[in-house]
Amino acid sequence: MLRIALETQGYKTRETETGQGAVDGVATDPPDLVILDLGLPDLDGVEVTRRLRQWSAVPIVVVSARGKDFEKVVALDAGADDYVTKPFSVGELLARVRAALRRANAIDNASLEPVFSVGGLRVDLARREVQVDGQSIHLTRHEFDLLRLLVRNAGKVLTHAKMLRDVWGPEAVNETHYLRVYMNQLRQKLEPNPSQPVYLLTETGVGYRLVTD
């Protein structure tokens, strides 16, 4: 299924049944992107992510079973770039794959745009300016720090732990309510309707994502 869908889109695919096979495969002939099912027969998918991350920056999109949010979060914290939950639509997976590849290229070219814009939202990181539909928005320091983190990882899901660590420091990793309060404030300031967000999406049980298109 997956292979047909990917190959119709012009991607070349290689498959391996085991975690060890994946690690070896990436080592011998590095692909542009890895799609990793967390339910592997031999190695734990999270372990594969960890091993790959020791020497490779290849984008990893993990596939996990429904109801195993913890597993996803661990894989993301171990260095996976994104995830989809089974059962997922092909469109969803392709969107994740495209976003992960785009990010990888942007980093390679070291040309991360200083101005990010999507829909009516425009964020100028260098000048610390935020606009919604042409209107300047004032953000507090933590609000801006949070938004900057999201912009730098636009399109990618960020786990609660990662966001807390980056914005508030490693000792705040478990203080999820900071994050909830500030994300809520950001939404009130940036979203046209904060209950039906179009920019700052909640990934329930995992984290947040800033949309790119």
């Binding site: 109801g67 309510h177 909830r180 209950s195 039906q196």
Partner: protein, 378 residues
């Protein structure tokens, strides 16, 4: 005692079997040999027969409460103690009257009979309970099986026939018919997925109990995620949200509560015409936040407001273009999750028609205010 292991239970039983005759002896000794009533010289407060009744009471207690072994021990000890302390030639086991032998025999027989009767009774009760549990499990399994097989078969049949159509005459069909058939396949597969998801969720709730991973969450987080989750299913439907950003943080399992909202929204989509909007609102009620989901469909069948939360209960289709699907588990899951958070959930038909579901969720205790300086840590 409910938590004691079988071994310590046995120990307790035998300790009681020792205690009962001892207590009877002590009480009997005080009343029989003890202080006499003034002016009533030579007469005890109790006769020997009364003392015997005290022993019998002890044996009865042990026999009713425990198994046969302790009952036998209690009756033998009682007989021995009675003989030793209360049969003339006190403080010896010597018996010189045939009358007492009969007493002993009756006492022993009583103890044995009662203990074996209660033993049988207890066995009957436990086997009846087991049978009832089995019957209930059987009933649930059967209902589940028939519901599931029907609900899986219906979409499966649609998928199969659409696929067959496409294979047989796909090339000759007009493009819009082909698209329609393909859409049917997709929609029906989604329906099956929802059903299987609910089934899995229900069996998870039933087998492991409900394990909630609670953390501070804003209701807008959960509402936004639930709506996005249903993006495809909601299609062009208008969803009005009336949720203030000032609501306090909730102390909830966001994954479970998202499921509640998804199920309620799914119901609203299912039971109201596509042209009608769905309203989602939330308000603060002290230590709780109340969430409401309302639709503009035909409302609930009268009298079903409570039963709709029962497992496998289904509302039959009513109104044009509406159909009932699903195994009747969605609302049962909602109820389990909301109650697991200590909240309440109910449903009613509004005066102007349409169904409204309300549920409450707990607010985080002493949530600190944002930007209050509490977040700065050195």
């Amino acid at each position: 005692m409910a938590h004691a292991g079988p071994r310590s239970r046995t120990v307790i039983a035998y300790v009681c079997a020792l205690l009962a005759p001892a207590l009877a002896t002590a009480a009997g000794w005080l009343l029989y040999h003890g202080p006499r009533r003034p002016g009533d010289i030579g007469k005890s407060l109790l006769s020997e027969t009364d003392v015997l009744m005290l022993y019998l009471l002890g044996v009865l207690g042990v026999a009713v409460r425990f198994s046969r072994g302790p009952a036998v021990v209690a009756s033998v000890l009682s007989v021995a103690a009675f003989d030793f302390f209360f049969v003339p030639k006190y403080l010896t086991f010597a018996v010189d009257n045939l009358r007492y032998l009969v007493t002993f025999a009756v006492m022993l027989a009583t103890g044995l009979t009662i203990s074996s009767l209660t033993h049988h009774l207890r066995q009957h009760a436990s086997s009846a309970r087991q049978a009832w549990q089995q019957a209930e499990a059987e009933f649930l399994r059967n209902t589940l099986l028939s519901a599931v097989s029907h609900d899986l078969r219906t979409p499966l049949a649609s998928i199969a026939s659409a696929a067959e159509n496409l294979v047989d005459s796909g090339a000759r069909l007009p493009a819009e018919v082909r698209t329609e058939l393909l859409r049917t396949i997709g929609d029906e597969a989604d329906r099956m997925e929802r059903l299987v998801g609910n089934l899995l969720e229900m069996s998870r709730l039933e087998s492991g109990g409900l394990v909630l991973k609670r953390a501070p969450v804003h209701i807008q987080d959960v509402v936004g995620a639930a709506l996005r989750h249903l993006q495809k299913r909601l299609r062009d439907r208008i969803v009005q949200t009336d949720i203030s950003g000032d609501l306090p943080l909730l102390d909830i399992d966001d994954v479970a509560v998202e499921q509640v909202l998804v199920n309620l929204l799914n119901n609203a989509v299912e039971y109201s015409p596509a042209s009608e909007s769905i309203c989602l609102s939330a308000r603060s009620l002290g230590a709780w936040v109340e969430v409401r989901v309302r639709d503009h469909g035909p409302g609930l069948p009268p009298g079903a407001e409570r039963r709709i939360f029962d497992k496998f209960f289904r509302v039959s289709p009513s109104g044009p273009g509406l159909s009932s699907r699903g195994a009747g588990l969605g609302l049962a899951i909602c109820k389990a999750v909301v109650q697991g958070h200590g909240g309440c959930i109910d449903a009613r038909t509004l005066d102007d028609g349409g169904a409204e579901f309300r549920f409450t969720l707990p607010v985080v205790a002493n949530a600190s205010s944002p930007d209050g300086g509490v977040y700065v840590r050195v």
